[in-house]
Amino acid sequence: MFYSISLYLALAIFIIGLIYKVSTWFSLTISVESKKVSTRFLMALKGVIAAIFSGRILILLKVFFLDVIIQRKVMREDFLRWLAHILIYWSFMLLLVMHALDSLITSRIFPDYSPTINPFMFLRDLFGLFVIVGVCLVIYRRFILKAPRLKTNAMDHYAIILLAIIMLSGVFLEGAKIGSYSIYESMVEQYSGMEDAGEIKPLTAFWVENFGVVSPDVKGPFDQELLKKGREIHETSCVTCHSRPRWAFMGYSAARLVKGIAVALDRAGVHTFLWYIHFLACFIGLAYLPFSKFFHIFVTPVSILANSVMDRQVSEAANVETRQAVEFDACTHCGQCTARCSVAISYETFENANILPSEKIRSLRKVAAGKESGENFARILEGSSICTNCHRCTDVCPAGINLEDLWFSMRESMFKKDYPEFSLLSPLSYYRGLMRDTIPEEDYTKPLVRARNTITAGYDLIKDQTEVITIPAYDSEFQDKSLSFQASAFKDCFGCQTCTNVCPVVANYENPKETLGLLPHQIMYSLGLGLKDLALGSNMLWDCVTCYQCQEQCPQGVKVTEVLFELKNLAIQSVKAKAV
């Protein structure tokens, strides 16, 4: 009763969760030009049908075999991880089919099926062992080997803990049952037709000797005659359903382990207790599945298959967006992307976990659901923008997620909001420049202008060209400290303008001052005078091509380009500090 109620309850939660999660695939906003939910749903349906009834079905089958069943991508990257995952994945699936769903599946295929005969008994333990070994490898990798910057979050913990509870409760339940005298008694009652204690004794002796039952009164050593008699009864009443429990090597070991206290455990009803734990853990796992990391069991294959036949350039934009929404759920947080991320090391200085792809994808899902704003949003935007678009995360993602595409789409849709992002003013933008044709013109320039304007907004002095500037007192904090290293050589500038004369950017404009604000020599000179606002507010900083002509040719050895680099860093630092 309790069993059925909890099963149906779990199933109901599972189904509602599933429907909810799938519905988000059509509602998350990822693209700049997001489509309606209904449009996306119909388009997806059409796309799926078109893919299945076309030549692409062959690609799908091949990819299903290589990437879902064999998981070659994981194998290529990291054998240990592959081993752990394949052990868990395959064994868990087989346990699910053969053991958990035995009344639905196994017993229909094998009419003689009983969980207590071979090969089922042995296989159950073998698969169980594989899962446990897999989980141990996972724990070893995550907590002992500790790859740099591999993050483990609450979701990962739940998944590992739940799996461990299911497996261990199963093993100990089996052990408790093997030793249980009360189960033995009821079995005898049911299957032997004997009632007299003296009649039963030989069978009991035989089961105590060979099947691990712990009887409160019948104890060895037994004489051969008795055992022989027991065997005869066993062979008529029990053998059709029972193989030697040794074959259930884990459960049997557990039974041996607690042999001394088995009678007490049995009286206390420990096997019933363990049974509750075992099935409740399974049901909790089922109910929680759509909301947990285990959801990837269903979604990752979908993502892998969709990506194998889709292409950003040719596929329907609405379907690309839907696929990207699916990808959020396909992520298993395995950390392979972060392990191979080209800028992961920058996490150490920016201290922004959103730089790491495995963390970024989580945050971006919240953004796509419209759940982030303020400081958090700005941090996610920063993390998303510090990316060299090297494609390595995408190449190694075992879930087949086109991460680079996802980053690109999400970045662009985030740029639509009013948050300034300063890393746009660095060569990290190169890829965006190459992709310019795919972005609406206005959306392309807006964030660039916003970033520049936010920086210069704080420096009024540079805007009013008519006013005579009063020279401030020597600002030692700024002039001595903030410009570090070799850059402080700006003090040697004597204003010869060589830097400006050789600057290709200055040469590109008819009226360079108007566009650039201050010219290179003016920046050097204003630094000498301590006019920080002039230097930091100048557009020249962001239009510098860093070709080093100025620095190379400066007769005074002023490190002009280095100074400009440092001013850029400084300007961004101070505008960020102000925002906080």
């Binding site: 200085t349 090297c390 660095s426 190169y430 590109n508 070709c547 080093y548 002509q549 190379e552």
Partner: protein, 292 residues
């Protein structure tokens, strides 16, 4: 001769032909290449926003090579410049070095400064030598004029990168001429390609690119030759963008990577050099080659 090959971020993703042709040339010349999977961003694109992050990136790469006792060969000039900058700064500032090493120590790495970082042109010119290359050349170019583009970040700041004479460099020209091609003099050969500003100020970036292309064409060049990831994307992908946007009417000047140019004259197949990957078609360059 053995080097760890540093590809960086853009080559595998967007300039595959540079990797293909470099590996093919290395193989032909007999240089062993080791790939270090853990290499990360060179640090160059981070310099505008956070200097320390950029040095940390570069230092981690060097520490990885150092751990295996390898020197690094870099294909990109911006990457090369960044490595040199980091090396220079870490030598100068112990405080920075300690800070960087404290971070690297978390993954069992340490930067000591033992690894030497070289650009591929330096390796070919100094470590291999023109004579050796000359011996291996099997097909010479005839009657072809090449505008050799040096690239800023390998050349300057000269006291840090120490690549060649910053005012009158000749290393790259000589490497071009060893293939029989003529490396012409053109006024803006040492100027910037415009790449550092693409994505930041496209107009300015493309202006600089156009100026160089026009100057090279007017100086009689048949092809432009570069040896840097960013320069190449600029002269190839971005030139293609400029051409297809149509409104400038510039005369297309195909850009070839040095490893492609050299590879052909070493007798390497054009497929193995990824010639077809270039956006602005360079397949006709084979017509300038003598037969084997």
């Amino acid at each position: 001769m053995r080097f760890a090959l540093f590809l960086g971020c853009n080559i595998p993703a967007r300039v595959k032909q540079y990797e293909l042709s470099s590996r093919a040339v290395f193989r032909k010349i007999g240089i062993d290449i080791i790939d270090i999977k853990e290499f990360n961003c060179c640090g160059y694109p981070l310099r505008n926003i956070d200097y320390k992050a950029s040095v940390l990136s570069a230092a981690r790469n060097m520490a990885l090579a150092e751990k295996q006792g390898l020197n690094i060969v870099v294909l990109c000039m911006c990457g090369f410049g960044m490595f040199k900058e980091a090396e220079h700064r870490l030598k100068e500032s112990n405080a920075l070095k300690e800070e960087i090493n404290a971070i690297l120590a978390k993954e069992g790495l340490e930067y000591q400064g033992k690894t030497e970082v070289k650009h591929i042109l330096t390796v070919l010119y100094h470590d291999v030598g023109l004579d050796v290359i000359k011996e291996k050349v099997v097909r010479k170019y005839k009657d072809i004029k090449i505008a050799t583009h040096y690239g800023c970040h390998a050349l300057r700041p000269s006291d840090v990168v120490m690549f060649d004479d910053p005012v009158n460099p000749e290393l790259f020209d000589k490497l071009v001429e060893v293939t029989g091609a003529k490396s012409i003099y053109w006024q803006s050969r040492l100027d910037c390609c415009g790449a550092p500003l693409l994505g930041i100020n496209d107009e300015l970036s493309m202006d600089l690119t156009k100026k160089k292309i026009v100057n090279a064409s007017e100086s009689g060049a048949d092809y432009l030759c570069d040896s840097c990831t960013y320069c190449h994307m600029q002269f190839d992908n971005v030139q293609q963008m400029i051409i297809s946007s149509g409104h400038d009417g510039i005369h297309a000047l195909p850009a070839i990577l040095y490893t492609q140019l050299l590879g052909l004259s070493l007798g390497i197949d054009s497929k193995a050099l990824g010639l077809a990957n270039n956006r602005v078609d360079i397949s006709k360059i084979e017509e300038f080659l003598s037969s084997i």
